[in-house]
Amino acid sequence: MQIEAREYEYANDYKVLIESYSGKPEHLLAIMQDVQRHYNYLPRLAISMISQHVGIPVSRVYAMASFYKAFSLVPKGKFIFRVCDGTACHIKNSATLLDQLQQHLGIEVDETTADGMFSIETVNCLGACALAPVMVVNGKVYGKVSPGDVERIINEYGGQSYASQHKC
């Protein structure tokens, strides 16, 4: 496991976050979620600190990180476009929204643009099925999105340049 040099700069911040929980195994998931929420991924240094704090092998933290969808081992974009592909959204053509996003941003699902600005993800249901198809960008919910709206939404987050770069 390689820890990147810059992660050490944050060592103290990780520590504060991690030690705000007791080291009981029942808090493992919560600690990992907090770190993920704060940094948009689980930095390697933080993973090894978590394993020490909870007193479990690093491999078990990794197993958790790869099992649960909430975690990522690489940094995610500043803006995360999450397209709902729950059933209600799926039958209202969410696949086309996804196509559009991928085309405009030039990345696939679960990828992040090289400059770390945008990521695309799918989610199984946001519980807003009445507004299908639904898309969420950093917590803001867009309902009844039509394929034609996608470009406008991307532009709200400064994604225009991507759109022109990748449009043929």
Binding site: E26, A30, F67, C125, A130
Partner: protein, 610 residues
Amino acid sequence: MQASINVNSNDRQTVLVCCGTGCTANGGREVFKTFETLLKDHAEIELLPVIKATGCNGWCEKGPLVRLLPRDITYCSVAPEDVSEIIDKTLIEGILIKRLLYRDPVSKEYLSSHHQTDFYRKQHKIALRNIGEIDPGQIDDYIEREGYQALKKALQEMSGQDIINIVQAAGLRGRGGGGFPTGRKWQACKNASGEEKFIICNGDEGDPGAFMDRSILEGDPHTIIEGMILGAYAVGASRGYVYVRDEYDLAVQNLGQAIGNARQRGYLGNSILGSDLAFDIEIVRGGGAFVCGEETALIASIEGRTGEPHDKYVFPTEKGLWGMPTVINNVETWANVPVIVLHGAEPFARIGTENSKGTKVFSLVGKVVNTGLVEVPMGTTLREVIYEIGGGLLKKRSFKAVQTGGPSGGCIPASLLDLPIDFDSLIEAGSMMGSGGLIVMDDHTCMVEVARYYTNFLAGESCGKCTPCREGLRAQLEILNRICDGEGTIEDLDLLEDISVTMQGASLCALGRTAPNPVLSTLRYFREEYLAHIEERRCPAGVCRALTTFYIDPVKCTGCQVCKKHCSVNAIQGERKEVHVIDESICIRCGECYRQCAFDAVQLRQEELR
């Protein structure tokens, strides 16, 4: 100007603004804030109306909803710009604003209250009784509506066994999917021995298309808390956990606040309401894995392990969380408990069918006019729910199927629309209750693609521990992809059935055992669609892109430009009022034009592609 506002505090005007997820996405919060700001400037009103942000009213289609009490006026699709008019006209002068009222599509009448609409009139609310009526952040709102009365009654005059007896007599069955009798589960836990016992509320709500648990957690968190305390008292548990899906931020926030308030008032903690009952609740946020909704996986997840289910030789009621006796119930199940304990078993048992008592909340979504949450007595027919409450299909298209039971449920065809919905009838029809999602599909939905969708979903969520589920799903997905791509053979259908049988018999947990349901139910009721894909190489619904081309019928096209506007790749040419044409070399076959055209001018090429 002296406002005509009544000063009697019982009649104090109240403005309820729906701030459920649906209404929030449509601007409900802004409406709420606008009321707050604007009302401050109305010093002339002697007794300012109370403004409350409520949970989801269920009628998400018409949101943001604003309700005015005591007159019981409901305004639909309210924008922040409408607020000052509502204050001036309705709150001060008492005049209804017609434009914001719901208009019955059949009688064309304007209805002043949502209670008069077909959507609400046919509902019977128990689990959702408070939602939309109270501010979930105010414990007193809950208390005013019989909140914590059941707990008081239980502590004063009932033993734990009494509670179990009542729940059993009421015939309450688990609302999380399995339909296991709740009283029986509690009895097993009470009888089991262990140093400590636990109560868990399953709020993982993994079924896509279902959002009742979210709505209850957000809109009426105290009913869950009270239900869990009653459960704890009944079985002798000292700690409780609510496992909430990670995506549900607002639910976590509202529930967390409610737990804090309940502690302050002495409903949670060491000696609850002065008795010797000690019980407290913690929230655990899920990690985002569908299988964690399964109870043994959920328990593993709370313990800080990966959420892999294990075979249930021993039930959680014997050895659950940390090896101790544990009761785990679904959110909606818990929400029914206070009502049953307070009012007794009999009124509850009177509702529903022989073996399925009470009501069930359904989330009615998909291609239906009124989408949202509906709570109806068990035994209500699919037709009543979809046509009478739901208002029928969008754009008056024809009904093809309704999917129930989540990913491992099944698709029910039009011939079974008069099926009374309860736990047993759905299983007989090859589906199941699941958590109560009803996803309505029209003739623009491809059933083979739906089966592929669910199989793909389940293949992604299979934890991989047992082979039949992991490999079976993968093989089925491959076959379904092939059929959707026009490469399927007739032998594939037998193979799908073969694999299904193996998965049903040999998988470790219910996920794998029920995973073939989408394939089997579509094969059972929609075999001809599979055959069209395989033998004629066409997708009758126009969904599978490899098998579909669209063209515009020049006779029907009015040149309205709707299709052109909706085409995201500019594949459609044509001037206003002239016939439009699709350039097939650009078209990505997303079908948006096909769904949008109001004149049926966009059509599928029906001839064989090969």
